[in-house]
């Protein structure tokens, strides 16, 4: 799959993860270049307490500006966004974020499927979506929508995942473009333009 490393265009990078994904992000974020030319959004399953220490922790791992999404905020290149706890994160056609407190999907709010599907409609082939470790089916429906819209689907190599179920479930349900460990993921992201 190395041949696909030649500069692939990315308008928006999404990373979804559940149990075992934080460790990956803590190792991945410091490896990313400092001036990412595209926006990044992280959709992570976490406890729905109002505390925002997670965005602070993630911010400490990267020199790219990192923050929790505010409702109706424009999606700005170079920024790493974190979906707020207990809200679904959606993308509007005018490339602003919307929040939604509707029913949980796959027992999750935020649901990775909801964000991936919504972004696929807006960004189409310009979307790159990565699914990390987790013990849940969330994300597979989203990756399917990303692929249907012409985007790129990436999963963490289940062998390297603390919880292999989530990336493995995606692998068995749709053709995935790339299966990466953390180092490969970092160089792939850094090669995107």
């Amino acid at each position: 799959m190395e041949e696909n490393h030649l500069s692939h265009t990315c308008e928006f990078l999404l990373i979804g993860g559940s149990a075992g994904s934080l460790e990956v992000l803590f190792r991945l974020l410091p490896l990313l270049r400092a001036d990412l030319p595209f926006p990044v959004a992280l959709v992570l399953h976490r406890r729905n307490s109002g505390d925002s220490t997670l965005s602070g922790l993630l911010a400490s791992k990267t020199s790219n500006p990192t923050q929790e999404v505010e409702d109706k905020e424009p999606v700005t290149p170079g920024t790493i966004y974190l979906a707020p706890a207990d809200y679904h994160l959606l993308i509007e056609r005018d490339r602003t974020f919307s929040l939604d407190y509707s029913e949980k999907i796959n027992f999750s709010r935020p649901s990775i499927d909801v964000t991936f599907e919504s972004a696929a409609e807006v960004y189409g082939p310009g979307l790159v979506a990565i699914l990390l470790s987790g013990a849940n089916e969330d994300g597979t429906g989203g990756l399917t929508a990303v692929k249907q819209a012409g985007g790129t689907a990436v999963v963490q190599n289940p062998d390297t995942a603390q919880m292999p179920f989530m990336p493995h479930y995606a692998l068995t349900h749709l053709p995935i473009d790339h299966v990466f460990d953390t180092m490969e993921m970092a160089s792939f992201i850094n090669s995107l333009t």
Partner: protein, 269 residues
Amino acid sequence: MIEEDDIDLLLNDLFDLYGYDFTRYSRASLKRRIIRLCSLDKFPSFAELRYRVRNDPSYLKRLVEEVTVNVTEMFRDPAFYKSLREEVLPVLGTKPFIRIWHAGCSTGEEVYSMAILLKEANLLRRSLLYATDLNPSVLEKVRKGIFPLGLMKQYSESYITSGGTRDFSSYYTAQYGQAKFDNELSEKIIISTHNLVSDSSFNEFDLILCRNVLIYFDKELQDRVLKLFDASLGTLGYLALGTKETLKFSAVQHKFKQLNREKIWKKII
């Protein structure tokens, strides 16, 4: 696959035929709700949904109920309720009479939470809680004050975190898997349909709560609704929004001062 143009057609129908204006709702969320409704009610295509809407006025109720989000809970964000208890109610308590508006109250869990706070501050007897929503069927649930018993454990924990010290189960009677909240609470709640998009101010309030409603509106509609709240608040009245909602960047922001870390503002002009 539902196209953007299809959504526009449906929204035009809803406005022309029934006067419901969803055109300034957040489109991404609204579209998901419409797709969800198509699948829930097993419409083979979007055209069938549209045909039903145009030709069966009785279906409107169902559509409005499912297209709007009616997920809510008691004492959601306990720190917010703690702040109401400790910082807002003592000030409201200096007034002879307290009027509170829950705008977009859905099934009323937050209204009953507020009534409990007022009771514990000994203010319930001189308070009135106006509970409004565009959706008549959710208001029926507010009127009854009956919620699933299975959720009481979680609500009780949030109640305690919000600073509640009583036995939460003393506020309801359990029967047939349901918890029926005391009449003492419900008789202070005035229920009415009100559409934030099209209806105007109907009273002057000391506190307006509108939590997790504005996120479903676009910026322009948010601004319009915030002006409506401003026009419905007395001087030094309070406005409370959801955790991820803000007055920042709105036309009325200079008239308000944020109280603390919670999303509560005091009207200063």
